[in-house]
Symmetry: C2
């Protein structure tokens, strides 16, 4: 139970649609949380104003500003070194946004910022499946594919603060076009929500095979719909997961041979398909590993509550500082 | 100038054919060096006996055992954590060899061991092109393709000590067969000495284009022969470097998006082809990078004297300890 003296931190997870935030104690309990829209704020200043109002209420409820140690923020294209968000394609604010500076000025609290997948990795290391691990890779399979790499017990930010963009590594040279970046064949073009939809459309168009998925409208063809068909034994649905797992597994093998982690932690919508996606992923991962890495690296699914995970990850940044 | 009190270290670089070793001072001067055969020693014990005899002479010449701080060893499949060489395909000794332990027993000196590419990375960080860098990737383009990754100023050994196997990452799925590992499409199948030879043979067979390389016996078709043809404007030779650079560049882009280094340091035979290989490599690297990484990461060629570099790298391990 929280005593009057126990310190708390604020975790803020900025997504393209909404921004979640909460007050977190050292054990990883989200005491109070709420959400505001991201995309309805054309300027970052109006966003911060609304965030301040919403958060001030939570701060009051948790015992006042005196208990708050700091603020951790996870944001797409967030740079740990500079505290800026740089050219985030799915946020309404363009260019380089000095978010940490703006938040510090408003809240008068120290702010630590990084990208959302790095925040998730720190969250897993503090509260989740990677507790006690010194070498692991966190991969978020959501609207996009993000990753955070921990080696020697430290998050790898790299020279400029942007390390861990596994989703943009090219896995199929001259492969599927990625609209956001203009590149061909990156992992994100296959293993993201959009990627799974495109695979479904391609496989459905290529054959006349009967499938429950033919009754699903194209914009609802997500990994959940494919999963629901798969549990009924739908062959096309199984093929979609097999194809996705083949590419994801290859990509995981390459990541393993690069940084030799103890485990890979997967998080996000696609993981809800369970063994339908995990089995082919693991099989193709092992097939592409050289002997010295085979049957060593665990694939784990994050067990943090999805609604809390983003806030927890962001808040963990602040404890780590 | 070395004073009576200055400490020295021994660097040993074990290769498939020969083993180089030398006595090194703190400034990276190789004071004395020599070489013995690796492959003529069917047992590791006879190898260590001969190494001891040859090194004892160098130790005497450099002022005696009292000045020697320790021994650093670079070896294929060398494991930093355990001091063992594990299943090295190109060494005469099979299985797991407790090399550090055997050397310590013989020499009565502390021994540090890692794989050859990691040793090279530490050598570059102490004496070479990566001096002062905290985030870089070292890639050795020799008989094989090795790599050493430094992040946050530390070499990444990974959970089991085998991190940095960039040469085995799959760059062309279902691509060229790699005899040593049985995998299809790893970087090493293209950017190693053998890889360049296979590319040359493939391109020469595919077309009737006239080429100086048609006069070169197949087993002499190495990057040196291709370079010599290229400087005379040989179109096929240029195509070979373009093809190799395309694959190497893609692989470098993926490595950059993973760990965001300040620079990539290249070392080994292929780099002697200069701009013939560096230009296409850099071009394809930039093409595959997402915007946030473009025109930031230097490609540098190691400027350590090749004859000394392996010994220096191995010896640097011992200073680092």
């Amino acid at each position: 139970m929280a005593t009057a003296l126990e310190q708390l931190v604020i975790g803020i997870d900025i997504g393209g649609t909404g921004t979640k935030f909460g007050i977190v104690d050292r054990d990883g309990n989200v005491l109070f949380s709420s959400e505001i829209s991201t995309k309805k704020h054309p300027t970052v200043e109006s966003f911060i104003d609304d965030l301040y109002i919403a958060l001030s209420e939570l701060i009051e409820r948790s015992g006042g500003r005196g208990r708050i140690k700091g603020i951790g923020v996870g944001a797409p294209n967030g740079n740990y070194y500079t505290g800026t968000i740089e050219y985030a394609p799915n946020l309404p604010w363009k260019g380089i946004i000095p978010l940490a500076e703006l938040l510090e000025a408003k809240f008068k609290l120290p702010v630590t910022l990084t990208n959302d997948a790095n925040a998730a990795a720190i969250g897993e290391m503090m509260y989740g499946a990677a507790k006690g691990m010194r070498d692991f890779i966190m991969i978020t399979l959501g609207t996009g594919v993000g990753s955070g790499i921990v080696a020697n017990g430290q998050l790898i930010y790299g020279h400029d603060g942007f390390a861990g963009e596994l989703g943009h590594t090219i896995v199929i040279p001259d492969g599927r076009y990625h609209k956001g970046t203009g590149k061909k064949g990156p992992l994100e073009a296959y293993a993201s929500a959009t990627g799974v939809r495109l695979t479904a459309i391609e496989i459905l168009e290529k054959t006349d095979a009967p499938s429950l998925l033919r009754n699903v409208p194209e914009d609802e063809l997500d990994s959940k719909a494919v999963y629901e068909a798969a549990i009924q034994g739908d062959k096309v649905a199984l093929d979609i997961f097999e194809f996705t797992g083949k590419i994801l597994g290859l990509s995981l093998a390459n990541a393993i041979m690069f940084s030799s982690p103890e485990a890979i932690i997967l998080f996000g919508g696609l993981t809800k398909a369970g063994d339908f996606i995990l089995k082919p992923t693991k099989q193709h991962m092992e097939e592409n590993l050289i002997q010295v890495f085979q049957n060593k690296v665990k694939i784990l699914v994050s067990h943090l509550k999805e609604s809390d995970a983003a806030i927890l990850g962001a808040s963990a940044l602040s404890w780590e500082k």
